[in-house]
């Protein structure tokens, strides 16, 4: 299951980014990024802070709308496109229903219980009746090992537990792709393991994932495609060997500095 076709027979693309450019003011954060994510593939993006990796991730579910370039997802094209092109436009909200996202700061809704956090979008977006929505939500809390915490509020949970609820909140929508934006960076060191364990299981179950992380061990373990970004461009990409055997001096320098 873990063997995903990156170059085998007929890999099926799920997300394709084409020539993405994004600036915040005079800061040119993304300078022409191309990326194709295939079904079941695990993409790991790493690089120094400010390299644009989080912005790249947020472009995939259009929390950031690119200045130019396009996001292709599941047969539809989003974003302004490349100059002169006219593409059928999709609705960002529909795309987001099928792409899950896990944030560095968890971003659970603090005023409702863990169960309601997971059930909210089922009820309001998918319009599923409350008993059914709660049953599904509880099932997903069980999957991340938090069935006993379903009545707890986020403030009563540890960081690791909150992040697992956040993962359940995304998974319950049945996403085709899961995005992780430095999911363990805000956690106390002893809580990192439980979140990585859930992510590892998820990868093994065949979920398509794009993970921005500083956990190089995670990349070595599950990363089918590993991308080193710096200064808004992809400097180097490759298989699991990249962490031991990078070609680009900048990649080697970065890996040396964090290991």
């Amino acid at each position: 299951m873990n063997e995903t076709p990156t170059n085998g027979s007929g890999p099926q693309p799920v997300v394709r980014l084409r020539d993405i450019h994004k600036s915040f003011g005079s800061n040119h954060v993304l300078r022409g990024i191309d990326l194709t994510v295939h079904k079941g593939q695990h993409v790991v993006v790493f690089g120094p802070s400010g390299s644009g990796k989080s912005t790249l991730l947020r472009t995939i579910n259009l929390l950031e709308v690119p200045d130019s370039g396009s996001v292709w997802f599941d047969g539809k094209e989003y974003g302004p496109g490349i100059d002169g092109e006219e593409l059928p436009k999709g609705k960002a909200r529909l795309l987001r229903q099928e792409i899950g996202m896990v944030f560095q700061q968890f971003n659970l809704f603090p005023h409702i219980t863990a169960l309601d956090n997971v059930a909210l979008a089922l009820r309001r977006v998918k319009r599923i009746a409350r008993p059914e929505a709660e049953l599904r939500a509880a099932t997903y809390l069980d999957r991340v090992g938090l069935l006993d915490k379903l009545a707890a509020y986020p403030g009563q949970l540890s960081g690791g537990q909150q992040q697992r609820v956040a993962i359940a909140r995304s998974l319950v929508m049945g996403p085709k792709v899961m995005l992780f934006d430095e999911p363990t960076s805000a956690l106390d060191p002893e809580l990192v393991g439980e979140v990585l364990a859930v992510m590892r299981s998820l990868a093994e179950s065949g979920m398509t994932m794009v993970v921005v992380t500083h956990e190089m061990g995670f990349g070595e373990e599950v990363g089918d495609l590993n991308i080193f970004m710096d200064d808004g461009v992809v400097v180097e990409q490759g298989g699991r060997g990249i962490y031991k055997d990078a070609h680009e001096p900048r990649t080697r320098e970065f890996l040396r500095s964090i290991l």
Partner: protein
């Protein structure tokens, strides 16, 4: 040394004997404060939302609205609205309506700023998380931003409500027979100034204390309590706890029969 008109003896029963007069005034004070506060809350929410508009023209206009209405002394504003505008331009509105209008406009400016602060205090990550699961902007506002902002603005809004009850006394100047006005008339007629204004003070104190306890109750209702582990046992919490336990049992039972992938073991 006492003044010529000062009463030699303090007669507390005078207050009770004139309770009907006080009650008439209180009743009008309460109605004015409630109506003006309800209108100001609705208008304040609109002011807050427009003030955060990205349009280059709407935001600055609402900022001026807030600045203007906060800058004018309320007593002056009450006079201006009634004598200055309503009477001068022959608008057929009563003194009560003019007073409510003046209070509403000023309080909408203050409340608008409180609401804007509350809405902006909700971290942006909350909106992003709501949008990332496909919620629309109105859904995100109603289900995620508003409930959190509501908790933040409740204490200052309670202060404003107390302020409204007190400030409603200023409409006495245009002849509205609310608590202060009827007190003035009674005192001028009977010369029992101490008893009358003591009565007035006590009634305001009772009103504002009631509001204080009301908002304390609302804040307590906001407490986030895990119904499964807490000792709080309201009938509602007990019923919900029962539902959740059955939910846990159902999921645990299905766990053994279905082959759903578990991502964590605990």
């Amino acid at each position: 040394m006492s003044g010529v008109l000062a009463q030699a003896t303090f007669r507390p029963e005078f207050i009770w004997d004139n309770r009907d007069i006080f009650l008439d005034g209180v009743w009008l004070t309460v109605r004015i404060a409630l109506v003006a506060f309800a209108l100001a809350t609705a208008l304040g929410l609109i002011v807050a939302l427009l003030r955060m508009s990205k349009s280059w023209i709407v935001g600055p206009i609402m900022a001026s609205y807030v600045n203007v209405f906060r800058a004018i002394p309320l007593l002056v504003f009450v006079l201006f609205v009634y004598y200055g505008v309503a009477i001068h331009f022959s608008f057929s509105i009563s003194a009560i309506q003019a007073g409510v209008l003046a209070l509403t406009l000023q309080y909408s400016a203050w409340l608008g700023e409180i609401f804007r602060g509350g809405i902006q205090a909700v971290p942006d990550g909350q909106r992003q998380a709501a949008m990332s699961v496909g919620m629309s902007r109105p859904q995100t506002f109603a289900r995620v931003v508003m409930p959190q902002a509501g908790r933040i603005v409740t204490p200052p809004t309670g202060n404003m409500f107390i302020g409204m009850i007190k400030d409603s006394s200023l409409v006495y100047i245009i002849g509205v027979p609310e608590l202060l006005r009827v007190s003035n008339l009674l005192a001028n007629r009977t010369f029992r100034y101490f008893e009358v204004y003591l009565g007035t003070v006590i009634v305001y104190l009772i009103l504002t204390t009631a509001v204080y306890f009301l908002f304390k109750y609302i804040e307590r209702r906001f407490q986030l309590v895990d119904v499964l582990t807490s000792k709080v046992r309201s009938p509602f919490a007990r019923r919900r706890a029962g539902q959740l336990r059955r939910l846990q049992e159902a999921v645990t039972a299905a766990r053994d029969t279905e082959s759903t992938v578990r991502l964590a073991t605990e």
